[in-house]
């Protein structure tokens, strides 16, 4: 989408609440309604022949849930697994997925007019998945359409036939 269309879309979007998290030095926000829970990180069971950023699957109260490391997917400099590493469990239209992030901050409500369109730049993130940029004091928040991002085929979570 071009810049102009994105700006129009942003202007009409209702204010939503975003859960902010940090990947290395970057801050991202995702729609809070898609978040099911936040957990600590536990080593998942590896699944063979999966892309590097899919760490494996875990048992979440009886359901098998894949774990995607966003730091690896977004080519961050480092991806450590410590006691502070967090997994955000998402419920995307009844598909449960967990994403590994460095830390989680607050839930922010951002009115639509404070959002700016993101310029089309070369990055590891598909520009369709970026809703816009939010400005909070001196921080820049990259707002993601997490559902689009996780459903993209290069995520490897959905097979091409889905």
């Amino acid at each position: 989408m071009g810049m102009m269309e994105k700006m129009d879309e942003l202007a009409t979007a209702a204010p939503r609440e975003y859960l902010t998290f940090r990947l290395d030095q970057e801050e991202y926000g995702i729609d809070i309604l898609k978040v099911q829970e936040i957990r600590g990180y536990e080593p998942p069971t590896r699944v063979a022949n999966a892309p590097e950023f899919i760490k494996g699957v875990i048992n979440l109260r009886g359901t098998i849930v894949p774990i995607v490391d966003m730091r690896l997917k977004f080519n961050c400099a480092k991806a450590e697994y410590s006691a502070f590493t967090v997994v955000i469990v998402l419920n995307l239209r009844n598909r449960i997925v967990g994403i590994v992030v460095d830390s989680v901050s607050d839930v922010m409500e951002l009115p639509a007019d404070s959002l700016k369109a993101a310029p089309d730049i070369e990055s590891a993130i598909d520009s369709d998945a970026v809703i816009g940029l939010g400005a909070l004091a001196d921080r820049m928040l990259i707002l993601l359409d997490i559902e689009k991002l996780m459903s993209a085929t290069d995520m490897g979570l959905v097979s091409a036939a889905d």
Binding site: A48, N49, G62, T63, I64, P66, V158, S159
Partner: protein
Amino acid sequence: MTEAQHESGGTGGDIDLSQFYQIFFEEAGENLDLMEQMLLNLNLETADDEELNGIFRCAHSVKGGAATFGFADVAELTHKMESLLDRLRRHEIQPNSAMVDVLLESADASRSLLARHQAGGEGEAMATGDLVRRISELALGGGGATAAAPKAVAPVAPPEPVAVKPALQPAASGEKAARSLEIRVGPIEHPEQADAIQELFRDIPGLGTVTVVATEEKGVRIFAVETVSSDDELLDLFAFHVAKEHIAIKAAGGGKASEAEDAHYGFFEGAAGAPEVATSYADDPPPGAPLAPLPGFGFFEGSPGAPAAASAAMTGAEAGGASKSPANASHPTGGAQPEAATIRVAINKVDQLINLVGELVITQAMLAQNSRALDPAVYQQLLTGLADLDRNTRDLQESVMSIRMIPMSIVFNRFPRMLRDLASKLGKKVDFVTQGEATELDKGLVEKITDPLTHLVRNSCDHGVEMPEQRIAAGKPETGTITLSASHQGGSIVIEVRDDGRGLSREKILSKARERGMDVSDQMSDSEVWGLIFAPGFSTAEVVTDVSGRGVGMDVVKKNIAALNGTVEIESSLGKGMRVSVRLPLTLAIMDGMSVGVGEEVYILPLSSVVESFQVKPEAVSTVAQGAQLVKVRDEYMPVIELEKVFQVPRFDFEKSCDIMVVVEADGSRVALLVDELLGQQQVVVKNLESNYRKVPNVSGATILGDGKVALILDTGALVRRSRH
């Protein structure tokens, strides 16, 4: 009368019958199915009373229920069928195949009319006038002008001018002089229903006149009627509102009672000659009589004598609620009355139960694991208790799993009718044989396997079995045979469709494949050649019929079966016949697994696929053509699959190495899997990996181990197939 009017007129009062609609639709469906089955099995030359009575009873049940709920179109059609069947069972006419055909078609029409009602009555109802006319013609012995399609509502009984049994009341034949009758209805719980009878006289021109006669008796209505119609016809009309058993017709002035007619329906066998016939089900003759009280329609009475069958139906209605399909209904076989005690249960309740049992198994496994470290001497009682728990859980799980299993006969039952119609349409003669109908299959699988099987059977009939002349010319019996069989083999269910037709032609398939530009060679093995027919759009049929030949079917069959994690194989012999084998894993949510260790990871093998395991020395493994590895097991060489390589298991500890082989058998062949160690055997709950992730090759699911970690369950079939090329 319109449907709406019926629906309110029929209830006449407090009962809201709509809560019973679902039960009626299900039971009517079963009765129609049973009737169809019996009609197909009917031996036209030596039809016995039991068979004919059974078919009659089915039509009668459906008619009664349809009338109660105000589905006049169904009631009318089934009434016609019932009249024909009645003549048949009293041997007034001989059964012939035209009758069977028209009855089968009428059963179909009834089904579709009922389906329309079930869906809310939208859309056009099928016209049944033609069927009704044909039934009437046949009832008269074929030929001869018949009455035009009867008026919208009034099901006038087919005129029986000559062959009337002497037992019939004299007034019911020939001349129809106006008669004065006294009609007594009751005692019934809702006498208001009888009032609707007056509407009948008002709405049907020429029926007669009716006046109410006052009566002191509770629950009873008495009418004085002037009419030209026969008692039979009147009873049929009134049946829309009140059951016949509650109606007594006598000539006005206390003349001879007319219940002799009702001998048709056998309800009064034990009461012949009794003056007042206000009976309820309670007074029915004992079950030895041809028409024992029909279960399921005991709504008419609240009378204390209502048979147990009626009250069972009521509790069924309360317990089952609005269930879509019975997980547990017993399907009556042959002509027997459906006697087995069953309860209709909604499927989601059963699924919930299975889930909970699954969780219980996991918890029990966890307890067992954690208790392994305990000192047996100190914790003896605890350990004994846990051992008991293990046994109980296992038993519970088996019982619960078996709830969802239903016999294959459910699937097989639709084929006789389908083949009969298909064979006659194509002009072929086909016998249909089934084996292993009692083999049980998970209900979820049954629904999905029906379409592919239907296609395979149609193929056999259309392309496999030759025309009778060709068969005779080939020295085969004129009638071909299609056999459908089901059996358990290992952890799978194998369903075969066999025919003794012309078989597959290797040359034709190869040339067709070349025509389509497929890469084939003459060196291909037979089974590879047969496998070509699964390609989309592939067909060697010269003539495309509307049954098959367009080449759309086989690839869909293969896809559907693959979606169930099953496989399809074909064997064929030119001129002799063909066999298609469908192999499906029994989808058990809980299965026995053997856990093996590879590196730091744990994998689970389905125990049913495991044949044996042994320790192996590196020298015993030989290579072939620098790639595949083989190991000799006694006198058999089998391929080796290194799980470490297949799953790219990272190896940290180079001291440990794979030196245990586990031989698994799947898909008809054996393969040896190379692992580090055998960890144990346990029950595992199969969790679906694909619901949140996607299909992983060589993996059929995942499970949660006692320590809460996830282990992948290997798809031994896929591993075996992988080793084949």
